[in-house]
């Protein structure tokens, strides 16, 4: 039987939706039993949220003031200590998971699967390579632990409805002091979160200035959408880094994605391939974004956006 340990991701208060997506991936491993591990300074509320997710058998909490921030160098030895009784160890393919899981895998002496996008068997998974231009099926050798990050855009979030047990566990592997958290500067925002929002409006280089980028925010407000950006827009300083969508930014799967003034480079497209409906607004009818758009509108964004907002009432 497979015993799957998922390392919960949270901000100290709330469980990340990415963890609920990991649960859905893990639940596809036939006959698996899912445990969520919450490393936190105050795991209580996070653990309760985790315990409600359908498919989770148990939640374990590891309380430690050092887990107020998540540093891979501190967490990895603790995860390794817990790992002994599990066959699979999963984390989301977020910056948290990408930082932690390879460190865990190396300490366990096993290779890691990045961005698992489908479960073919308990040891067989599909994952994208070359910015999603090829999909490979990988097989983990018998008797080795499966350590993986889960491509969140490939799995719906597990729903509430479960009632898992919650128990405190101690993990006391020595934590190094060579790595120290200093600060986090997060743009305070009451907008929908880019990674989980059902609708996303993204702007590209064509916005041409930070001021103009407000047009994207304004349309997003109308649609109650999250805001995203191309790398060019982030590099130019029109939008902040956490808004980048693509191969090296966020991979998202909203119901509706609106790309404004974005050409559609492969590195950008890989981030939006799983969007249900893609709308592209671009003045160049030859732009590659139109090859993936369900609805394309050729024209000048500076005329189209105000008109679109007006039409949306």
């Amino acid at each position: 039987m497979s015993k799957i340990l998922i390392i919960a991701e949270h901000d100290g208060k709330k469980l990340s939706p990415a963890s609920a997506r990991c649960v859905t991936c893990a639940a596809q491993i036939a006959g698996g039993e899912i445990t969520l591990a919450v490393f936190a300074a105050d795991p209580g509320p996070i653990a309760q949220q985790a315990a409600r997710l359908t498919g989770v058998a148990q939640v374990i909490t590891i309380t430690d003031a050092r887990h107020a921030q998540s540093l891979a160098a501190v967490l990895a030895p603790q995860v390794v200590q817990l790992a002994a009784s599990y066959t699979h160890i999963f984390g989301a393919s977020t910056t948290f998971g990408k930082d932690l899981m390879p460190r865990v895998a190396a300490l366990l002496g096993v290779p890691q699967i990045s961005d698992a996008m489908s479960v073919e068997s308990p040891t067989r998974f599909k994952r994208p390579i070359y910015a999603g231009n090829a999909i490979i099926t990988v097989e983990v050798a018998a008797n080795r632990k499966v350590v993986a990050t889960v491509r969140t855009a490939s799995f719906e979030a597990a729903l509430d409805g479960g009632a898992a047990t919650i128990s405190a566990v101690s993990a006391d592997a020595p934590a190094p002091t060579h790595t120290r958290y200093v600060s986090l500067s997060a743009a305070a925002s009451d907008r929908p979160d880019l990674q989980s929002a059902p609708r996303v409006v993204s702007g590209g280089r064509a916005l041409a200035s930070k001021e103009n980028f407000q047009l994207i925010y304004s349309l997003a407000d109308k649609l109650n959408a999250a805001v995203g950006a191309s790398r060019a827009a982030v590099d130019a300083g029109y939008a902040s880094n956490e808004l980048q969508v693509g191969q090296t930014g966020k991979i998202i799967a909203p119901e509706l994605y609106v790309a404004v003034g974005i050409s559609g480079a492969i590195q950008h497209l890989t981030g939006i391939k799983d969007a249900r409906t893609i709308v592209a607004i671009n003045k160049d009818a030859e732009a590659p974004i139109f090859e993936v758009a369900d609805f394309g509108l050729v024209g000048d964004l500076f005329q189209i956006l105000p008109a679109l907002e007006a039409a949306l009432g």
């Binding site: 390879p102 070359y130 099926t137």
Partner: protein, 250 residues
């Protein structure tokens, strides 16, 4: 600080749209343009700037790959690396093996800093940096977009999902370079000539005592599902209509 090691991976150029072989055995690489992994250029550029500030004395570019990876190492030497090491292997390797090979080099070279890319754009794994740091028992700072060195401590700004995180690590450490760390310099012709004379040592995995970990095997390669072709709408009204029909706007 004395030495900085930079990982230089030979990958398919980022402008190439790779094609999957019809028999599912992999992607077609014959005649495809190969380059230095873009993130590794950023990693090297950062090392060069550290050296130019007088905070390091030697930069060693290391690649694990086929003989042809010497081309990418020559590019690294032309950019300004002092010498290069090729760890030859004709087999495709997983990041865990790459990390073991880099560790073996580290053991002899004793660098104060290792800078790798955040991810290689062929396997998109984003594993080698943290794996190497784990095996080495040293700090890691992934997704670095700003690096400051103060004696034996490095301060790193990391691009994380929530925004920008700052951490501090004791050296030696492993850093993985993100896109906005810097803009790599262009190689000039005279530098390419000069690079031909720089030292490039060739070794192999067996000589380093590294065996290829075969715990993860690729058993099949396929093309991704294509999206169904969409339509062009003629104006805003038609677009809003189409979205309403799909229930995406009210």
């Amino acid at each position: 600080m004395q030495k900085i090691i930079v990982g230089i991976k030979r990958v398919v150029d980022y402008n190439v749209r790779v094609r999957v072989k019809p028999d599912g055995s992999g992607v077609a690489l014959d005649g495809v343009k190969m380059s230095v992994n873009p993130f590794d250029e950023i990693a090297l550029e950062e090392a060069l700037r550290i050296k130019e500030r007088g905070e390091a004395t030697e930069i060693i570019a290391v690649s694990i790959g086929p003989d042809d990876a010497q081309q990418q190492l020559r590019t690294a030497l032309a950019m300004g690396a002092d010498r290069a090491i090729l760890v030859k292997t004709d087999q495709a390797i997983e990041p865990l093996t790459a990390a073991h090979a880099l560790l073996a080099i580290i053991k002899t070279e004793q660098p104060d800093l290792v800078i790798v890319g955040k991810q290689a754009i062929d396997d998109d794994a984003a594993q080698t940096g943290p794996m190497l740091a784990a095996l080495w028992g040293r700090p890691q700072a992934t997704f670095c977009s700003k690096l400051t060195i103060n004696g034996t401590v490095a301060t790193i700004v990391r691009e994380v999902d929530a925004g920008l995180e700052t951490i501090e690590v004791d050296l030696p450490a492993v850093i993985s370079a993100d896109l906005r760390l810097n803009e790599p310099r262009y190689v000039k012709l005279p530098d390419i000539m000069k690079a031909k004379k720089k030292q490039l040592d060739v070794t192999d995995l067996a000589t380093l005592g590294v065996s290829i970990d075969d715990g993860l095997k690729t058993v099949h390669t396929e093309a991704p599902k294509a999206r169904a072709k969409g339509i062009l709408v003629k104006d805003v009204a038609e677009l809003v209509d189409a979205l309403k029909k799909k229930g995406l706007v009210s």
